[in-house]
Symmetry: C2
Subunit: 124 residues, 2 copies
């Protein structure tokens, strides 16, 4: 089932790294050079370049060919497909959060019941 | 920055495979055994088991320990964190879709202009 055009897998694989996600977050504040991107990570330029190549292949960033310092820009379009895919499961995580909430309320109720039982026990 | 508790990277990595996404889609219709999951993919059981292990480590599925056929269940909770992360970029992909729409409208306008110019040229 894996095909060359499986964009969604390429997008998710690119997002599966905290440094690459931090680079995207930085670029959401505006264009940046490789040097600027490398700074906060205390990484070598080749290491950052490697991450940028992954992001570029996934079409999550674009690098200017003209300017000498070749700034990087965020390209968010592939994230729409990722959001659409994940969104299908919203009702399932909402249901599991509801169940968790119910369980916690149940626990609190029991806790209250036990506390008042103890208090009544002491009074008698 | 990569830590043992970087759930988000584990989630995205688990989603970066079309077979694993298809398994989650199948489980959204209800529990299934490894045999049932293997059928539509024409895969060997060990190959499917490998994918299930990745999904289980990412806490996207749960396998029953009690029943003999050990059915798998969807666990959608980690997808909420993934959705929340991607959602931060909505305004960027919406902006880029807007720009694309504008560009297409501009192209159509030019096309119309050229067609009417050609017609007028023929008339004269």
């Amino acid at each position: 089932m894996q095909t060359a055009t499986d964009h969604l897998s390429t997008t998710f694989a690119a997002l599966a790294d905290p440094t690459r996600r931090a680079i995207l977050a930085r670029l959401s504040n505006g264009e940046a050079s490789v040097q600027e991107l490398a700074k906060p990570f205390n990484m070598t330029l080749p290491a950052v370049s490697k991450h940028l190549k992954v992001l570029e292949r996934a079409k999550l960033i674009r690098r200017s060919r003209s300017a000498q310092w070749r700034p990087c820009y965020l390209e968010a379009a592939p994230l729409k497909e990722a959001a659409d895919w994940v969104e299908q499961y919203r009702r399932f995580w909402e249901a599991s959060l509801d169940r968790l909430g119910e369980y916690l309320r149940e626990l609190q109720k029991k806790e209250k019941h036990n506390v008042s039982k103890k208090r009544n026990g002491k009074k008698n």
